[in-house]
Assembly symmetry: C2
């Protein structure tokens, strides 16, 4: 009889603790998703609005200078366009997951989540090395640096890259936490209680 | 009594089916890992050995031509160096997982696996857009294409990229399958409570 009471007490307390722990985990995931959305969305917006015009004196005829206006835009580089698309898709994915979370819909999206991680990482890799080329140039290929002419453009690009890397790290943490949540969830729980009273 | 026999039959048959299904899954994962290792290792080796020398006539003094020897190497571009490191690490990771599988060691490496996916994707993104720049150039930044001069170098680089993308896709499939395996695995499951009161 004492055993039965103990079991009953356990049955009553453990669901409460489990629900509390699950809520805590859900809350952490929600906040991480929000931070991740903010980071990737900032990266997308900053890079998409990145543009700088520069008027340079290219020659002087007599006393009048001949000027040329050069423009640096993210659209001019396919790597930066891919960066904007990748971070934009990561933002949309996070927004969708937040919305589903608010409306209590459950979506098991491990495959999609993994694709978004790969896409964001590819975008970051492409943009980082293109930015490095813009900053330092490549003497072997005779590609000159452009950041000496377009300082503001390069600084903004750097900001977008940093935001995007923060977003990628958060995306990785969210994915690992989601997998761990999946792992810790008890799947099939069968309780056999046989009382043999002759 | 009939119920007891039914349970016994079920207990005897289901572990055999479960073991067979698990072995089939393990075998598929093993083959996928092997293919992934071969793809990423090929990408690493082809890119790491990619080098082309070209002797060009830059001027003629009298009748004797003045030549210059230009060399294209993967080491000259940080994006390609990163590509080699990323694919090399992905190969090592796959090799380690294959070895652990052969020696029947279990390692739950979901976090590491995710990092490898992100690393390989970043390497592929960086190298793809750098290769695109080498092939087409960028008129806005005044970066000339180099593939018209270094055709063989560019073709080999393309081959390495294709192998690497196959490796990345296989890596994604392996990770999704591993997560699904985790999901389908029953965790803790049976609680037998028998109270025999004579």
């Amino acid at each position: 009889m004492a055993l039965e009471n103990g079991d009953k007490a356990k049955d009553e307390s453990s669901p409460v603790a489990a629900v509390a722990a699950a809520m805590m985990k859900d809350w952490t995931l929600f906040m991480l998703r929000l931070a991740c959305f903010l980071a990737t969305a900032s990266a997308t917006i900053v890079m998409a609005l990145n543009k700088e015009k520069k008027t340079l004196v290219v020659a002087t005829i007599g006393t009048s200078p001949v000027t040329a206006t050069l423009t640096a835009k993210f659209q001019y580089d396919p790597a930066f366009v891919f960066f904007v698309v990748a971070n934009g898709l990561a933002s949309l994915h996070n927004l969708l997951m937040i919305a589903l979370d608010i409306f209590k819909h459950k979506l098991s999206d491990k495959g999609l989540c993994l694709l978004i991680v790969a896409l964001a990482a590819a975008g970051d890799g492409a943009a980082t090395f293109m930015a490095e080329l813009g900053k330092n140039g490549n003497s072997h290929a005779r590609w000159n640096k452009i950041c000496d002419k377009f300082g503001t453009y390069c600084e903004r690009g750097e900001g977008a890259l940093i935001a995007s890397f923060i977003g990628l790290i958060l995306l990785l943490v969210i994915t690992v936490l989601s997998i761990l949540k999946l792992h810790s969830k008890p799947k099939l729980t069968t309780t056999h209680t046989s009382s043999v009273i002759p």
